[in-house]
């Protein structure tokens, strides 16, 4: 009877849970692990549960540890919990070699698999980046507990703190920054990003153009680096103006193309400068509901609930509690792109233009070759975009700095030391290869993977481009403190070469942006400070040369 009950359960039922309990199961069937009371025989267990239980392995008969395939894990777990023969029942969790992520429902997030979320977690995961969710508000549900949610704001006259009374905004925030690797529910694309809730839609999901325009302005004023707009409607000049001002202020604005199933991109996605996002399903084909048109810049998974497990699964509000729900829409595609933009910023992309270039060049080309009005530049592929960031910026800097250290060592007559070359390369290019090490993503590798000149970004994007950090000042102090020491001189020289090379490179390529400077002024600042830093490196190498000679004579 129990078996028939289980198989009759609707697979797409919302996955509700009490707020205090870890949600146990994925949206589809799978393996349920059942720890029986010791001494229970398989026959007794099968009779009591009505399930075709098997021992996990012959050796587990002693511990009475069994498993079974079920159609609905959550329902089966609930049903078994009340049986006296069962001590514990929980879904089997596939554990990677280094156990990341341990979110039990991550396997249901096909969308994160195809966009390369794992690479993103290993390259900053949005650390230091603020993403404004301009929507129905955001509520800190159980699977957002570990996510930084900034104080919110509301323009709808409802809850003043930007809390969500609908569920849409919380779901969108989950795609961007759901708490990840917390052994609960699902993952987010940029879990280290900070979410800024801006409520511009009522709890019915409707808003006025002036609320949304004001919300966009407020997000810019509160320091958003990325603005997510999973909303739309008829063209509004006021709203388009707000988007234009945000883009001019250096904010990345991502907006949903619309759900009209026809050609014609809604507003604000149709504003020049905004990144308009169309939606794809699990089969990488334009979703049945998605709008398309000449403004579409990129597509991303928005889900297709006509296919089992084909929606986008995140945690959101359900009554007074929370539930893991599958949603579909260009609303769901948009936060994939916003989250990817946050990851690219945290991985060292220096400007909105660079982020856009990486998103578009890295996208998987679908539909007609090259850009087309359905998929834009293609379907989001964050993994590829990050690879491009490494190949275009980090690897060249790594090599150029090492080569510069080699040449400057020769020119100054010092012995060419491996430590100097390595220090130069790591300082300029960052230890970006740490992203491929089989260790869980963490703050230390996030920092070490960045070039030293980009370290302030972990404090917040505000500090990127702090002019004193992009200058000869810190190298000067470093030189005086460590440059003349026997043990640290060669290392210091290498780091000076790394910083100097990166400053010059950043000026010439326009990839470093000191505050308040543009064009030739930025170029001048970076090149002059870079050359001065390289001068300090030569001086430090000169000191090591003298030590070499002294050492050689003694």
């Amino acid at each position: 009877m129990l078996l028939s009950l289980l198989s009759a359960c609707a697979m797409e039922a919302p996955h509700t849970s009490g707020a205090l309990h870890a949600f146990p199961a994925g949206p589809t069937g799978g393996t349920l692990v059942v720890d029986l009371v010791d001494g229970t025989s398989l026959d007794d267990a099968r009779k009591a549960t009505g399930l075709d239980l098997q021992w996990v392995a012959p050796q587990t008969e002693d511990e009475a540890l069994a498993e079974v395939q079920v159609a609905d894990l959550a329902e089966a777990q609930r049903a078994l919990a009340s049986l006296p023969l069962v001590e514990v029942a929980e879904p089997s969790i596939e554990v990677e070699a280094y156990g990341f992520p341990n979110d039990p429902m991550f396997d249901a997030q096909w969308n994160f698999d195809i966009v390369g979320a794992k690479q993103g977690w290993r390259m900053g995961g949005g650390r230091g980046v603020t993403v404004a969710v301009v929507d129905t508000g955001v509520t800190k549900v159980a699977d957002l507990e570990g996510t930084t949610i900034l104080p919110g704001v509301s323009f709808t006259g409802g809850s003043p703190d930007g809390a969500d009374g609908n569920g849409h905004g919380t779901h969108v925030a989950g795609t961007i920054a759901q708490t990840t690797n917390n052994a609960l529910g699902v993952a987010g694309l940029a879990p280290n990003a900070k979410i800024l809730p801006v409520k511009v839609l009522t709890d019915f999901g409707i808003g006025r153009s002036e609320w949304i325009a004001a919300g966009i302005d407020e997000a810019v004023d509160r320091g958003a680096d990325v603005i997510n707009l999973s909303l739309g409607g008829p063209t509004s000049a006021v709203m388009q103006n707000a988007v234009r001002k945000a883009v001019d202020a250096g904010v990345i604005v991502v907006a949903a193309a619309g759900n009209s199933s026809r050609e014609g991109v809604g507003c604000p996605a149709n504003t020049p400068g905004a990144i308009a996002v169309s939606a794809t399903g699990p089969d990488d084909v334009l979703a049945f509901y998605s709008s398309w048109g000449k403004e579409v810049a990129i597509s991303a998974p928005g889900g297709d609930k006509r296919k089992t497990g084909g929606g986008i699964l995140q945690d959101t509000i359900e009554g007074k509690g929370h539930a893991f729900k599958e949603f579909q829409g260009t609303s769901m595609a948009t936060p994939h792109v916003a989250g990817a933009a946050a990851v690219l910023l945290s991985a060292g992309a220096g400007s909105p233009d660079e982020v856009k270039a990486l998103l578009f060049d890295g996208a998987k080309d679908l539909g007609a070759p090259g850009w087309d009005s359905k998929y834009g530049h293609g379907r989001l592929d964050l993994g590829k975009a990050l690879q491009m960031l490494v190949v275009r910026e980090r690897a060249p800097l790594f090599g150029i700095a090492a080569a510069a250290a080699f040449l400057l060592s020769l020119l100054s007559g010092a012995r060419v030391r491996f430590v100097t070359l390595l220090a130069a390369a790591l300082t300029a290019g960052g230890a970006f290869f740490l992203a491929w090490l089989p260790v869980p993503p963490n703050a230390v590798t996030d920092l070490l993977a960045l070039p030293i000149l980009e370290w302030p970004s972990v404090l917040g994007r505000f500090w990127v481009g702090f002019p004193l950090w992009l200058s000869v000042v810190v190298p000067l102090v470093g030189t005086f403190v460590f440059g003349a020491t026997r043990s640290l001189g060669p290392l210091t020289a290498g780091m000076l070469v790394g910083v100097g090379t990166h400053l010059v490179w950043g000026g010439v390529t326009g990839t470093l942006h000191p505050w308040g400077m543009a064009g030739s002024m930025a170029l001048g600042w970076l090149v002059v400070n870079g050359v001065l830093t390289l001068g300090l490196a030569v001086a430090t190498l000169g000191v090591t040369k003298l030590r070499d000679r002294k050492g050689g004579a003694s």
């Binding site: 839609l201 808003g207 153009s209 949304i212 709203m239 507003c267 509901y289 709008s291 949603f327």
Partner: protein, 68 residues
Amino acid sequence: MKGKLVRVDLGGGGWVLEADDGKRYQLAGNVPKELDGRRVEVRGKSVESFGFLMTGDPTLEVERITAL
């Protein structure tokens, strides 16, 4: 305005009126769930509004909705 009330599964979900005039309207306001799929009469005004439904249809702000 009369027509069929339809629940649309986009974003967080919303209501659309498939009106007898052949047009579709997104509905803003409180719509009782039990009316899903039924013929209804909606009283309200046409408004320019934004939301997550984004079906591209005009919005009707619901003042009163009754089953027919």
